[in-house]
């Protein structure tokens, strides 16, 4: 079968990192082609290039044998490429039928909407997908799985030739996954080319015909799934020459009260039966795929999400963490996942961003007025201990590189004088050198008797810094790994849902 999409020698260079390195890729009609790889392997970049959101630095794209270049996502859409994204492009207040035909509604001669045609065609498409929902139902009342299917229906009715799905099952329950897979089969029969990105091994083996594995921006291999076993795929993803984890300083076992003790914690819709203890002087890793509830756990521990069940004990005392202010009061601080959205104050200086969470105890004047010399001292100590590269404390924060901005965020956490730190994606968007610096900072914090939880999608990172590691899967703890058991294979296996190997370091 001739490929409908062909990528030849695609490379994408970002400042400081080569996201894709000479990648060849193709999609055939009537075939499900899975794309797998660790985080940072380049999957998202590849999808973004195909969907027109990004331009390749070099290489060519051929659509139906003709060379193309997409100036933006709408151009790619017009060419017949659709992306089913995590953020659904549906209008909640409109009905299913209205959403499917949004922007190209059929009208009668008078200019009014031709409801009969709209409803009929919408019904056709829905029936074909096996979606048992009224076309007049407002999208806002549909479940997540149903909404996703409406989005697929929309792509279908637009006669897309290529459909790309990025972690489509992240938010679905088992029944909905089954239904999605039936629909994917139908799409195959309609000769659509489907690009399926997922971490979930079992699902990929169930639904895909072919798999391409990326690692560090390079294509490792492209093979029909019939020729491979699960272990083969995981091996290709992780690679033979795996950088072995640096020797982890053994933090002395602590016999004191745990810093944070969580028992049967549940957050409605995200987590259930979470129990673990975080001790002072240790780094606890928290692993899990998209949708496993990792971030929601941190948010719940920081008072940003309400708890529907269970108890939290801080320093042995039962606490109700109703808000971040309360959490900080109890000595807990959280580093948010996305510093651009939830962390950085773009209009403040570097100094302002570092000291914003400082607790001001003591005299009235110190709680009210800015003590410039105090602040400068605090900033200096953070700057030197974290090696923040800024020309001066008064520099605008947006002028700093991503790595330095992240260091500022960590500095902010330390300035708050909280001893329990919840670090989320601590090295996201950070260059390699800074990443290593941050890792050594995390280890140092453990030595200094902080209690640190590092929640990350970067498995090697977790291996590198953790003393122990919990792995979440679909809102539950899939496993708790002790020092000896921590390895990329074990973490990945638990996160994906396959069984853990007896000998972790083979």
């Amino acid at each position: 079968m001739e490929p409908i999409l062909n990528l030849a020698g695609i490379s994408k260079q970002f400042p400081g990192v080569k996201a894709l390195d000479n990648v060849d890729f193709f999609l055939c009609p009537g075939e499900v082609h899975a794309l797998m790889g660790e985080n940072g392997a380049g999957k998202s970049t590849l999808i973004n290039i195909i969907s027109g959101l990004l331009q390749p630095s070099s290489g060519k794209i051929y659509l139906a044998e003709r060379e193309v270049s997409f100036g933006g996502s709408s151009e790619a859409q017009k060419a017949g490429i659709s992306t089913i994204s995590q953020e659904f492009n549906l209008v909640p207040g409109l009905t299913v039928a209205e959403n499917i035909f949004l922007g190209r509604e059929p009208t009668s001669r008078s200019g009014l909407l031709n409801w009969r045609e709209i409803r009929q065609r919408a019904k056709e498409v829905l029936t074909e997908l096996g979606l048992n929902v009224s076309v007049n139902q407002r999208v806002e009342y549909l479940s997540v799985g149903d909404r996703q299917l409406v989005e697929i229906a929309k792509a279908l009715s637009l006669e897309f030739r290529i459909i790309m799905m990025d972690e489509p099952t992240a938010a679905l329950n088992a029944t909905e996954v089954g239904r999605l897979f039936e629909i994917v089969q139908k799409l195959k029969r309609r000769n659509k080319a489907i690009l399926y990105v997922s971490h979930r091994l079992a699902e990929v083996f169930r639904i895909a015909d072919r798999v391409t594995i990326l690692r560090d921006g390079k294509r490792v291999d492209t093979r029909p799934l019939a020729e491979l076993s699960e272990d083969d795929v995981v091996t290709m993803m992780l690679g033979r020459a795996l950088k072995r984890a640096a020797a982890v300083d053994a933090a002395p076992a602590s016999i004191e009260r745990p810093a944070l003790a969580v028992e049967e914690l549940a957050v409605r819709g995200f987590l259930s039966s979470i129990s673990f203890a975080l001790r002072f002087g240790e780094v606890m890793g928290c692993a899990g795929l998209v949708g496993s509830g990792r971030y929601e756990l941190a948010q719940a521990l920081f008072g940003l999400l309400p708890i529907s069940h269970g108890r939290i004990e801080v320093n042995g005392k039962r606490e109700s963490l109703r808000s971040p202010i309360v959490a900080i009061h109890r000595g807990i601080y959280m580093l948010p996942e996305d510093r651009k959205v939830e962390g950085i104050f773009p209009d403040l200086t570097v100094l302002g961003n570092v000291v914003i969470s400082a607790r001001h105890l003591g005299s009235l004047t110190s709680r009210f007025f800015i003590r410039a010399s105090d602040e400068r001292k605090r900033y200096e100590s953070m700057r030197s201990s974290l090696d923040i590269r800024a020309t001066s404390p008064a520099q605008g924060i947006t002028k700093l590189s991503g790595g330095n901005q992240q260091k500022v965020m960590i500095g902010r956490a330390l300035v708050s004088q909280s001893r329990i730190l919840l670090l989320n994606e601590p090295t996201r968007g950070v260059d390699i050198k800074t990443k290593l610096e941050i890792h050594s900072v995390i280890r140092r914090l453990a030595r200094e008797r902080y209690a640190v939880m590092v929640s990350s999608s970067d498995v090697p990172e977790l291996v590198s810094v953790s003393d122990r590691c919990i792995v979440l899967n679909a809102g539950r703890i899939a496993g708790l790994l002790n020092k000896e058991q921590i390895s990329e294979d074990n973490i990945t296996a638990l996160a994906i849902g396959t069984r853990i190997s007896k000998n972790p370091n083979e």
């Binding site: 959205v341 403040l348 969470s357 709680r367 007025f369």
Partner: protein
């Protein structure tokens, strides 16, 4: 503030953006001086001491309110109820003076301004209604209350000492309200740049979500900002009442427009996160100069409406264009 040279960042499209930035940063101040000088040369009456004093006097009414409004806008919110709030506080003041004396009456009026501002803040934060529309509704309530309290009439104030506040001068030259305006701006500038609260205002205006994640008491900060606006407005109302020797419910009709226009043309961005009190100060003077000029040249008072609105929209347009020019990609 100054861009450090030698930083090879992703360069901006305009290499001399520093100069452009500087000019637009002190735009209103430069414009003010240019216009004032031009008018002084064009019209002999304009440059008389009486007239200049009058300009300073007129500037102070909107200027004092604009100080508080600047802080609120920096925090990312607006208050459209200030006209009603001023009228209400003025009426209460005028009615209380004969009964409890000047100073207690002024104090009460300020406290009520603070309380009403806090009420605005509560409605916005606790009821989660968008600020501009919540305060629009509160405006109605305040004006109505002012009408009710005043019986729809003008309440005269005859105490001479009080009238001095509006009509007298200090150091022989500066009108009292203008001196208070200077003090208010100094106070607000101090709050904004030297207190933690001021930094928190800028923080939540810059990124409210980050503010919550950083453990800032966002709601309380907002409420206090609204309360400051209320107090400044009540303060302005005190002097307006003194100048008019009377108070009535609609004595500050259109006040919210003038105050917001002053802040915007002063250079404070409506998006929040940063602001310039110096700019608002100059903006208040600028509008006073323009209105004064319109009067002198015999142009009808109605032009003020048009002019104020035009300046507001133009200033917003300039801000919008400026942020798209200075956006670095």
């Amino acid at each position: 503030m100054n861009e450090t040279s030698g930083n090879r960042h992703k360069g901006s499209r305009f290499p001399d953006v520093n100069v452009l930035d500087f000019i637009t940063r002190y735009f209103i101040q430069s414009l003010l001086i240019v216009v004032a000088v031009a008018l002084s040369l064009l019209n002999p009456y304009f440059r008389t001491a009486t007239n200049l004093q009058n300009i300073l006097l007129q500037a102070s009414f909107s200027g004092i309110g604009a100080a508080g409004m600047t802080l609120l806008i920096v925090s990312g919110a607006f208050d459209l109820s200030v006209a009603g709030l001023l009228g209400l506080c003025g009426v209460i003041l005028a009615k209380l003076i004969p009964d409890i004396g000047i100073t207690p009456a002024i104090a009460t009026s300020l406290v009520i301004g603070f309380a009403l501002g806090s009420l605005n803040g509560l409605v916005v934060t606790k009821l989660r209604i968008p600020a501009f529309i919540a305060t629009l509704g509160m405006m109605n309530i305040y004006v109505a209350l002012a009408f009710i309290w005043s019986g729809g009439e003008v309440i005269p104030v005859s105490e001479v000492t009080f009238q001095f506040l509006g009509t007298g001068t200090l150091l022989g030259v500066l009108p009292v309200p203008f001196v208070i305006m200077i003090l208010t701006y100094l106070l607000c500038q101090g709050i904004l740049s030297r207190t933690l609260f001021g930094r928190y205002l800028r923080a939540i205006g810059s990124n409210e979500i980050a503010g919550r994640t950083a453990g800032l008491p966002v709601d309380i900060i907002r409420i206090i900002a609204f309360a400051i606006v209320g107090s400044c407005t009540a303060l302005a109302g005190t002097f307006l009442t003194a100048e008019l020797s009377s108070a009535n419910a609609i004595m500050a009709s259109g006040y919210e427009l003038t105050v917001i226009a002053v802040v915007v043309i002063g250079g404070t961005s409506l998006k929040g996160g940063k602001g310039t009190l110096f700019g608002s100060f100059a903006g208040a003077l600028f509008f006073a100069v323009i209105n004064n000029a319109l009067n002198i040249f015999g142009v009808g008072a109605y032009w003020q409406y048009v002019v104020t609105g035009l300046f507001l929209i133009s200033a917003l347009g300039v801000q919008a264009l400026r942020s798209s020019i200075l956006t670095v990609e």
